[in-house]
């Protein structure tokens, strides 16, 4: 499915998870591979990882979603099982031009998940509904 990662990217993230859990750093060859697969948004995504900008939000129902704090201070909601981000780069580079697999926010969520660097937050079910529908981004 086009809205999921290709096998080569999945394998790369598995390698990252294994290596980072053993060495607590990303070797150069993995960084080069990440840049090769994900393109120019890789460095920006790594910046977001450094800033601990990704939060894994969950609610009592068991629903989980990622929220990524962008450089402008805006929160971007990214789903866990399907690629979508409300940022302009996702609309332009991914959906319209089909040039990139993902935007920097989705890649940051993947990287933080692989490296175990996601912040964790619990919210009530009703708040989760607002986040999923995009209302929480509009009415903080």
């Amino acid at each position: 499915m086009a809205s999921c990662l290709p096998a080569v990217a999945e394998q790369l993230l598995k390698d990252l998870q294994k290596t980072y859990s053993e060495k607590s750093q990303i070797p150069d060859e993995l960084l080069i591979a990440l840049r090769f697969i994900f393109g120019s948004c890789t460095l920006q995504a790594l910046d977001l990882v450094d800033q601990r900008a990704v939060t894994c939000v969950s609610s009592p129902s068991g629903r989980v979603v990622f929220q990524v704090l962008g450089g402008s201070g805006r929160l971007y909601t990214c789903y866990t099982s399907c690629h979508y981000c409300p940022c302009p780069a996702f609309s332009f580079s991914v959906l319209r031009r089909n040039e990139s697999l993902v935007c920097k926010h989705i890649l940051a969520a993947y990287l933080c998940q692989a490296m175990g660097l996601c912040q964790q937050e619990q919210v009530p079910d009703q708040q989760m509904t607002l986040i999923l529908s995009g209302r929480a981004e509009l009415d903080p």
Binding site: S59, H83, L95, T129, S133, G134
Partner: protein
């Protein structure tokens, strides 16, 4: 999802042509996009919802901006056992705006603590009416379309995971879309940007082309199934098949009949293209 369509075709197929040995299926996570004019789209989705509820026991959520006034004639006239309990499995939801649709779908996870069965089929009829808004730039329309189907997909994945714990059927998604120029004779080669986005997320496509004979539109459609999520057993020793065609005929009383089309005929070229024009 395609297995439900398969039941619809068999149930409402002509007795002469009914093909009992063919089995349509799709990958478990596959969702279906129905592309055609809004009337045939809605009729097909209603038949699918009723079949899923009455014959497969699925709980169905049917999202549409317009109130459903009556059951399809096909169902009223057929021998389908329409028990009130079966119809109660279908819940019609009428979100009027994009925001209402997103909130209705996003709130489905709140059903989990309840003891009632979770939905096994999410249907959105006429997604174009939520996506196309005057003065909305093309890029925003694409993002809006992606938001709706990504949320549906993520919600179905969540409900599927919860259903497996309680041994309920997995949740599937079906979305119908009417291309912008449908019925207006626009440029058939111009790509439909919204359709391209919908295809990224929905792995099985069900095209409905209206048949035109001697320049006149008939009450017939050619239904063509395709997409990477589709599998057809019963043809070619069960090997993967890229597509399958059916002829959908609307009888004078409004009832729909499905006839399998084994091979493209001359007439199939005389169709009113209702998609982005990348198929001939």
């Amino acid at each position: 999802m395609v297995d439900i369509l398969s039941v619809v075709f068999r149930r409402f197929g002509s007795q002469v042509h009914a093909s009992g040995d063919m089995k349509l299926s799709s990958q478990p996570e596959s969702s279906t996009l129905v592309v055609g004019d809004e009337n045939i789209n809605r009729s097909l989705l209603l038949l699918t919802a009723i079949t899923a509820a009455s014959e497969m026991g699925y709980k169905v959520l049917f999202f549409t901006p317009n109130q459903i006034q009556s059951l399809p004639v096909t169902v009223q006239d057929s021998s389908v056992s329409l028990k009130p309990d079966s119809l109660k499995k279908i819940r019609f939801v009428y979100p009027k705006t994009l925001e209402e649709l997103l909130e209705d779908v996003a709130s489905l996870h709140e059903l989990v603590p309840e003891s009632a069965p979770l939905p096994s089929l999410l249907i959105v009829d006429g997604v174009e009416r939520y996506v196309r808004v005057l003065d909305r730039p093309q890029q925003d329309s694409q993002s809006t379309a992606a938001h709706i189907v990504a949320l549906l997909h993520d919600t179905a994945a969540f409900l599927k995971a919860r259903s497996e714990k309680s041994q309920q059927p997995p949740c599937r998604v079906i979305v119908s879309y009417q291309p912008e120029r449908e019925g207006r004779g626009g440029d058939v080669f111009a790509p439909d940007s919204i359709l391209l986005v919908l295809e990224r997320y929905l792995q099985v496509r069900c095209n409905l082309h209206k048949v035109i004979n001697s320049g006149e539109a008939q009450n017939e459609w050619l239904l063509h199934l395709s997409g990477p999520g589709l599998q057809v057993d019963g043809y070619g020793n069960g090997e993967k098949c890229l597509g399958l065609q059916w002829r959908v005929v609307m009888q004078p009383n409004g009832a729909l009949e499905f006839r399998p089309e084994s091979a493209p005929k001359e007439e199939t070229l005389q169709v009113q293209h209702s998609d982005c024009g990348n198929e001939t």
